[in-house]
Amino acid sequence: MAKFAALFGFGAILLALPHALSFSQQEILVFLTINVLLVASYRLLTLTGEWSLGHVVIMGVGAYASALLSKRLGIYVPVAMLLGAVTAAMIALALSFPLFRMKGFYFLIGSFAAGEIIRLLWKRFRDPFGGPKGLKKIDPMPDFDIGIYAFDFFEPVSYYYFALAVVGVSLWVMWRIERSPVGLTFHAVHWQDRLAEASGVNVRAYRTLAFVLASGFAGLSGALLAHYIGTINPNSFDVEQMVFVLTWTIVGGTATFYGPILGCVVLTVLNEIVLREAGFEQMRPLIYGLILILSVLFMPKGLESLVRGAFSGRNARKNKAGETKAME
């Protein structure tokens, strides 16, 4: 009951939040919501132990696919978004055949190369991808009315509510997957793939499943982004964006579901409050690079471990037991 009340209160805060913010802050809130989905999907990918450098490009696949489907074929935007997610998942499935023959940093380099190939294809083929300038005037979400609220997608607040709903459902699905026997098997594949395989687990299939699911959600986040900003190009999904995702993930820590989300929220808020207010906006890549190095060096378990540490002692064992219960 208390848990339900807490959830309800949290939901109310999220709904009320944009009304306490300025217009430009509302826009940032929309990006933050989309990035939360991206970074949560990245953690799903890392559950089986492989780290990809192509995840942001996969997000871009969803963005390009959804934009083109709505622009060229006139498909209704929400449907195009879902199809964008499916396209990203399918591309990931195709990439899994070469990539999962690699491990460790060969996988890192391989995923980077695969991502670069996709970006070069966008650059090379003006038709349909628009070349280096990318796609412009991507159809916005059509306005609609659900009775209690009229969505006017000219307003960031409306898009925020829409994205919040999509991201909320996606996170819930990812949470369910992780807390299911499927999620437990992902962890098993990560920690001891030989023992998992001896127990009858098709390790390659599970790695592929995590990769495809994560890519689908990344594609969905890309579609959300494309129809919000209205213009995308190959550089919207370059290494710099990947560094942001890596930084959020590593700063937050991958041990828990909420770690990377926490990393994303905390760093974005810090960035907006501290850097923008102080006029150091251009220093963002510098500061992210620095934070990335420092967190690899000094916080191997990430922010999440600090949060856990605060409740440690009395609760640590109980938490672990509670997680077990939820997972089986």
């Binding site: 026997p181 098997t185 098993a188 030989r194 023992l195 395989e197 001896a198 127990s199 499943l209 077990t324």
Partner: protein, 256 residues
């Protein structure tokens, strides 16, 4: 007499120029405890790795109930009923004891992602949990279900390794040095458990250095040396087999 459950037929395994297994053949009878012994480097663990599908043999084949299983992937071999444990304590150290055994139930209760998302796999999860708890009970680990596997003392880790294998309800279980690092009391208890396990109809093939345990436990023993079959028989025959004595003593003399 029933046909052998596992047949190793003319098996050869080469790594570059090194021949680890050289035309090895032996049979494992259903419901037996079968020991595989030999001096260090005889090729026992390599044999395990081939039978369990970790390596693809260079020549020859392994048959389970007449069906060829050599060349299959490890999980495919497992799905046909041959499950192995590993040397040392190979466990999911970061997961709890119960979660470790739940992975062992993977084949009997395969997870379904759509059912999991829709929340309609409750019965499956309950059954998997019941099976896992049963396996923990069998090995006396029930009280430790929520401990992290990596935090367990060594003897318990070995037992947990077997519980993971057993939760899969295998027909044949391959145990790689199950008594290593156990004190005499733990070894004795583990031997009792293996007999109990055999009596439930599971066939056990084990590699082990503890001669006392092997002789007291096995119905039949195969002795290897330099990748080849040296001798086969019941413990009494093996104990007095001149080639076996030569192999062990000769090896010892050589080392000395």
């Amino acid at each position: 007499m029933s046909p052998p459950v596992l047949e190793i037929d003319d098996l050869t395994m080469r790594f570059g120029g090194l021949t680890a297994i050289d035309r090895l053949s032996f049979k494992v009878e259903r419901g037996a405890i079968h020991g595989l012994i030999g001096p260090n480097g005889a090729g026992k663990t390599t044999t395990f790795n081939v039978v369990s599908g970790f390596y693809k043999p260079t020549g020859g084949e392994v048959r389970l109930r007449g069906e060829t299983i050599s060349g299959l992937r490890m999980y495919e071999v497992a799905r046909r009923g041959v499950v192995r444990t590993f040397q040392h304590s190979t466990l999911f150290a970061e997961l709890t004891v119960l979660e470790n055994v739940l992975i062992g139930t993977h084949m009997s209760f395969p997870p379904n992602i759509f059912a999991a998302m829709a929340g309609v796999d409750k019965a499956n999860r309950r059954a998997a949990r019941a099976r896992a708890e049963e396996a923990l009970d069998f090995f006396g680990l029930a009280g430790l279900a929520d401990e992290l596997a990596g935090d367990l003392p060594h003897g318990h880790q070995r037992a947990l390794g077997m519980a993971v294998a057993l939760a899969a309800r295998p027909d044949v279980v391959l145990l790689d040095e199950p008594f290593t690092g156990m004190n005499p009391e733990e070894t004795r208890r583990m031997m009792e458990l293996m007999v109990k396990l055999r009596d439930t109809g599971v066939t056990i093939l084990l590699v082990e250095h503890d001669m006392h345990a092997i002789m007291g436990l096995c119905d039949r023993i195969t002795c290897m040396s330099f990748g080849r079959l040296l001798a086969e028989g019941n413990p009494q025959e093996i104990r007095h087999h001149p080639d076996v004595i030569e192999a062990y003593l000769g090896g010892a003399r050589h080392v000395a």
